[in-house]
Symmetry: C2
Subunit: 125 residues, 2 copies
DNA sequence: TCTTTATTCAACCGGATGGTTGATAAACCG
DNA sequence: CGGTTTATCAACCATCCGGTTGAATAAAGA
């Protein structure tokens, strides 16, 4: 879905959003079901305004959406956006892990460490 | 490997490290093979000092390691650390995606939107 | 040894970030 | 209507972050 030319600022916003422990706990909580701002704020010792800001960061990153129920604004997790992150990470993780299994790559890495330059030994992989 | 009680600051560091487009490009480059600081700096228009700082952030996050070859310090990607991130994300993504497939969860979510409280309808999932 | 190359250290700067408090808006409840 | 609940807006503040320039370290090469 998000393959090839993944929007850079979208990744910025999403990784930045998950770089904060409070926001990660919010995501964890939302994975078990939607919740309102005050519900989400309850386990924390910071103000609801601060939580509201955190939710805005998550929303701006597309990781959560909000609906409306009277004066409440329930927050819902968007798993598709999480999938965007795993697909980005896996793209490079898997390439590298394949290299570990590839003897040629191991030799190229040793060459980078013990000889002059790392350079492109086998870019045809 | 990193299941259960994943160290919070480790996740902080790793997500923060990937929240920067320059650092993500460095990771992408390193997935194709190790490289030195000046090699990594080349495609960018910023100073090598800035790149050096970026690498330190990645190293501190455990995403890369460094060896020594004379006055060069080749940088290597650590795929295991990337795997830590995907496993964290997937933990919550998959729970939520399961809810989408679960009719009971859909009903619970509607109840959260149209009635009084989101609350715990089916925490036994 | 003197010079060049590779990299880091140190100080600095502007802008973003995460928290605060106080005020405001909107919808429900009596 | 008046009051309570839910949430955001606004201003403020300290710290962090990503970049800069200039100096220092370390090893290689002449």
């Amino acid at each position: 879905m998000y393959d090839e030319e993944t929007d850079d600022t979208a990744l910025d916003l999403a990784f930045t959003a998950l770089a904060d422990p409070v926001r990660r706990r919010i995501v964890a909580r939302l994975s078990r079901g939607s919740a309102t701002v005050t519900e989400l704020a309850e386990p924390f010792e910071i103000s609801t305004q601060a939580i509201s800001k955190h939710i805005r960061v998550l929303e701006h990153a597309g990781l959560v959406t909000r609906t409306r129920d009277a004066q409440r604004r329930p927050v819902h997790l968007n798993p598709a956006r999480l999938e965007m992150l795993t697909s980005w990470i896996d793209r490079y993780r898997l390439v590298k892990e394949q290299q570990f299994r590839d003897l040629d790559a191991v030799l190229a890495r040793e060459a980078a460490d013990h000889h002059h330059s790392a350079e492109q030994h086998h870019r045809g992989a």
